[in-house]
Symmetry: C2
Subunit: 352 residues, 2 copies
């Protein structure tokens, strides 16, 4: 189904490519249209429309050697936010679920925490009380469950949790709740020599545990919020790295751009996000030379996923989500908005 | 010329492979020797001997599918120190030369520094006085010349400097003073699907400027000492990143292992270094499973390069170099020492 909404009335590429959908065209334009459509078949979960077309046009503009905006393979860097962009972020970030569900094991190891807040509330299982915990208490839980062990112990704990944890709505592993259309974009870009990175506000070490298997993205291409580690020696003199409760990189908002510089060292040519945490990364990418692509996922499908942000008429104060102000900026700066409802034929791979 | 020094008298692989150099062998062993030699031809600047053989054996042990220590292509991570391992570090790190040579331009922009120490001493050109500047003053010079500009401005400044700067001994650009045998190792590993990283105590942003052209290593595969950057907006509202004088990662000693975890997220299977700053990285690599390779470059060739560290009989107190204690550890942990004098037929590409 085609969309009528357009964020840029005078985008020549989009106007031209939409012509390809008309029933009768002169011979030369039909040939061009055929070329346009072929790569689009690599995006089978996408409906025809400006969002799909923007992706196909971008790949052509950056990979065809004759294109004035051609990008050499080594410089083809594409960055993706994770929560809400590559997979479901509602009703709670998977990593926060992990931290809460680790509390019983933590208290078993440190019984002195049993009657201490906020661990007491988490152990009670009272979801209403847990939802009211102040940020300071949430941070205590994160520090206690994400640090104090070696990096290998942490990887094992997260791996084990991912095998058994289930999302409350679909009763499926979190790693099955990735958006199939975005998986297709990752593969489409990777097959065109793009290096695809996750740039997430979530924990770098957490996401790295499953990124290769889940997205085809190796650990070194996951940039996320990171704490320090400390090199030292174990009982048998073996060298080891311990995770410390000290923030090194707060990979959110402007921190995402700083993280991109630290870990990648170059400006991306494509960026995908869904929330105010992605704003600076989208701005920075879009301010580059050539034909950079900036896309925003709009959660407007309560039936198949969730509707929040502008789609739910939420006010601008809700941090961490796509807000009306971000929507306005997308219009102004020619970022392409992806409507989950209209642009995606299916959301998850497990759908028929 | 073969070497008689051996760090491990009972290394079976080395004993077997040295048999290949004997004049008469049974047919099957000759066939095995031919297989051994072929990849070695990709290391034409290396003399036959245990160092070259250790590299060839390592590649075979990690890339032949039937090998019990086979490593999947995605996990083939090799890390290289830069200063003293990939290129000349004497008489002064190239980056320190850069900072000192930037001082006149800095003072031209900020005349109030002209009569302030340590800038006054640097401007005097008195090398003896400059050599006596305390570390605190050196740090002031580094901060003043490496921070306070956008990341793009810094890249341009370093690029321009590299074009005209010359090493005092060879009167050549610093980027011509890379060790040809190590360039061959980089290419040999890259052609065997290894991802090669520089892990340097030097500035990450500095080394990234020339690493692709000089070593075939893209910016995202350079891990180095890094300061913070700050995201903000320029006069015309354009997003920009400014380099700040705040240390984020001190990529030396244990910090190299912490940097490897932050930027790569996995334990390397091969590590190359030359100084006490590389010790923990070598230990960490060598403590991994399979057949990890750890190699140390010994500067023992005063005629063609320099002789320092144990080769010059220096005491163990000289920080930043290969020390007798490191040499002892190499023996104990079966790291392979590379003698520049004996193992390298030529040092630089520009030699006849």
């Amino acid at each position: 189904m085609r969309r009528t909404r357009s964020l840029n009335g005078i985008d020549r590429r989009r106007v031209l490519s939409s012509l390809a959908l008309l029933p009768v065209l002169p011979g030369t334009l039909v040939a061009a249209a055929a070329q346009t459509r072929a790569p689009g078949d690599l995006l089978p979960s996408w409906s025809d429309g400006p969002a799909k077309q923007a992706i196909v046009d971008f790949v052509r503009a950056t990979t065809e050697p004759s294109s004035p905006t051609y990008v050499a393979p080594g410089d083809r860097i594409a960055v993706f936010d994770q929560d809400g962009t590559l997979w479901v972020e509602q009703p709670m970030y998977a990593q926060v679920a992990y931290c809460l569900e680790r509390v019983p094991a933590l208290v078993a190891r440190k019984p002195e925490l049993r009657n201490v807040e906020p661990f007491k509330t988490v152990l009670s299982g009272n979801r209403e009380a847990m939802a009211k915990l102040p940020l300071r208490d949430i941070e205590k839980i994160l520090a206690a469950t994400l640090t104090g062990m070696t990096v290998e112990e942490f990887q094992s704990e997260v791996s084990r949790w991912l095998e058994t944890a289930r999302h409350p709505r679909w009763n499926r592993p979190y790693t099955e709740l990735t958006f199939q259309p975005m998986q297709e974009v990752l593969q489409y870009l990777q097959s065109n020599a793009f290096k695809t990175y996750i740039v997430t506000g979530g924990g770098q070490d957490f996401v790295r545990v499953y990124a290769a298997k889940t997205y085809g993205i190796p650990p070194e291409q996951v940039v996320g919020t990171a704490g320090t580690t400390k090199f030292g020696y174990g009982r048998n003199g073996q060298p080891l790295l311990t995770k410390e409760p000290k923030l090194l990189l707060n990979d959110d908002k402007g921190g995402k751009v700083e993280g991109i510089h630290l870990m990648i060292g170059r400006r991306p040519v494509a960026a995908f996000g869904n929330s105010v945490g992605d704003r600076e990364m989208l701005e920075y990418t879009r301010a580059g030379q050539g034909a950079p692509l900036a896309m925003l996922v709009l959660h407007d499908d309560a039936a198949r996923e969730y509707a929040y942000g502008p789609a739910a008429g939420l006010p601008d104060s809700k941090i961490g989500t796509f807000t009306p102000a971000l929507y306005d900026e997308a219009r102004k700066r020619d970022w392409t908005v992806i409507s989950m409802k209209n642009d995606w034929k299916r959301i998850f791979a497990f759908e028929a």
